[in-house]
């Protein structure tokens, strides 16, 4: 649907730094200034701090080299709990939301009474603050008065102290995240479904292809690029999840459900060692930026191949 865009009235022989370049730079100038002061300067400050002795109660600001990086990278908590948690969280949250979202998109793509109502309900989680969602889920999974345990009791299942055990707490966080993000996948995939050409489906119907084969060999391959874009965007965001974890478990019990952002925050502001928190934050940033660049390269190559 995009219209090919040509440059606005190129001058016959563009000078290196002419009126056109000045216009371009002026257009992005406000954004550049805001980014420099409120993103790049802080990132550099953090990077600088991560090489220094910078605790919150007694900062000496002396250069200590890679000490904090060694500390974080040899902290069993970081290596064996935080990073696996973060990666499992990313993978499970994205995979489950994608599958549910695809199912919902297929439902919404049909005409039936109540379709508008369903779509309205699905929009709601997208608009709800993660903090509010976390509060709701936390209340539902409250071990004494939560509705989930009430239902469990009625069904004769053992009641669980949901937030007091590592894996149930992690599961509750995942449920909250999946509740929040499934509708996002559903709506984007629905938009993708609605923009697919009709002819292949008509041809398949004439050939008497079963619904499963239509889905497997037509819908899925044609939706592939939309799905990949969704996975990449959501994957990058899932890596930095903070608010729902903070509100549901605050990384507990015993720091066992910490994700990478929570770890950096706790090291910096509860263990009061800003330098160590910054080092952890930089390590995480490097991991995800490298990952994102690799994915970007792969995507570029792969999209060209598929065209």
């Amino acid at each position: 649907m995009t219209i090919p865009v040509a440059d606005l009235a190129d001058p016959p022989k563009p000078p290196m730094f002419g009126e056109r370049q000045r216009f371009m730079l002026l257009l992005i100038a406000p954004a550049v200034v805001a980014l420099i002061f409120f993103q790049i300067v802080p990132i550099l400050t953090g990077a600088n701090a991560s090489f220094r002795d910078w605790s919150l109660h007694d900062p000496k600001y002396t250069w200590v080299g890679l000490k904090h990086y060694w500390y974080v990278l040899s902290d069993p908590g970081f290596v064996w709990t935080v990073m696996p948690n973060t990666l499992v969280f990313m993978a499970v949250s994205v995979a489950v939301s994608l599958v549910f979202g695809l199912g919902l998109a297929l439902i919404l793509n049909r005409q039936f009474a109540g379709r508008a109502v369903l779509q309205t309900i699905l929009l709601l989680p997208l608009m709800v603050a993660p903090v509010v969602a976390a509060i709701m889920i936390r209340w539902m999974f409250n071990d004494q008065f939560g509705i989930v345990n009430v239902v469990f009791e009625a069904l004769g299942l053992p009641q669980q102290p949901w937030l007091a055990q590592r894996w149930t707490a992690f599961g509750v966080i995942l449920v909250a995240d999946i509740w929040l993000w499934t509708p996002w996948f559903a709506l984007l995939l629905l938009a993708g479904l609605q923009s697919l050409p009709k002819e292949p489906f008509e041809a398949a119907a004439i050939d008497g292809a079963s619904r499963w084969r239509v889905f497997r060999y037509l819908t899925l391959p044609m939706l592939r690029s939309v799905m990949v874009v969704c996975i990449v965007i959501r994957g990058i965001d899932a890596f930095r999840t903070f608010d729902i974890v903070w509100t549901i478990s605050a990384g507990g019990p015993a720091r066992s459900t910490e994700l990478f952002s929570i770890y950096a925050y706790i090291e910096a502001f509860q263990a009061m060692n800003f330098a160590r928190g910054s080092a952890a934050a930089i390590i995480g940033a490097i991991i995800i930026v490298v990952l994102a660049m690799v994915v970007f390269r792969l995507l570029n190559r792969w999209m060209e191949v598929s065209k």
Partner: protein
Amino acid sequence: MTLASPALALPPVRSGFFASLAPGGAKVLFALATIAVAFLFAFPVLWLLLTSLRPESGVYYVHRGTEFTWHNYVEVLQQENILKAFFNSFAISTLATILSLGVTVTSGYMLSRFRGPIPNGWFSVIYVLRCVPYISWVLPLFFVTRQWGIFDTYWGLLLPHVAVHICFFSWIMKGFFDGIDPSMEYAALIDGCTRWGAFFRVALPSAIPGMTALAILCWLYTWNEFLFALMLTAHKTPILTVVMAQFVHELGMEWHLMSATAMMALVPALIVTIFGQKYVIRGLRV
């Protein structure tokens, strides 16, 4: 409670399983699955609403009580801190929306209309900066804003929020302008309009529908945002999401007040969901 699989089970099983049912069976199953999905997604909000309407002692047996009361809302609204938090969140969201859109509309226009090293470089910068986790720059921002004397003020939260939005919104704005035919701008340029004139008088008005959608989303993102508010504000400028999270950790037992506050924080989301659907769906298309 799991977000169970009716939705998921439908497409794969359909051909074999549904064929074996009576003709009406498939329809009934489909309807049941749809209702189950709607129920699962609406339930947390409904449950919160129900809890917020129960008296203090009633929250411990929400599922079988019959008394209802408005009292929780009244009590919450009497707390000065919460009122201030509502006002602050509202003001910051509105100002951040105006600033963010103002800054990103030109940047998106640039990305859409020009080719060459400058747009390519800018695009790479945006892509990389968007991937940097928030925590990596919000931790040091705590010190940076203190040094600049804007910690715990409107500016100290507003400007970082604008920076958060720049990368993603520039990209979305580019999409809006890509969908607008540039030939009108050429015409304006040939007729003697300046580049700025072509942008403000021709391109900008046609981007208004897209920008409205983005404005609604931007307002809600800022209203819902937690990490930056947690780090960059303290007692002087309470922000709603932070106040609510404190509620959970410090006054963990007062679920009746908690849910009343959360319900009120949900009101803008409910309004947008019900009245602004068309715009939101348009704005979400990446």
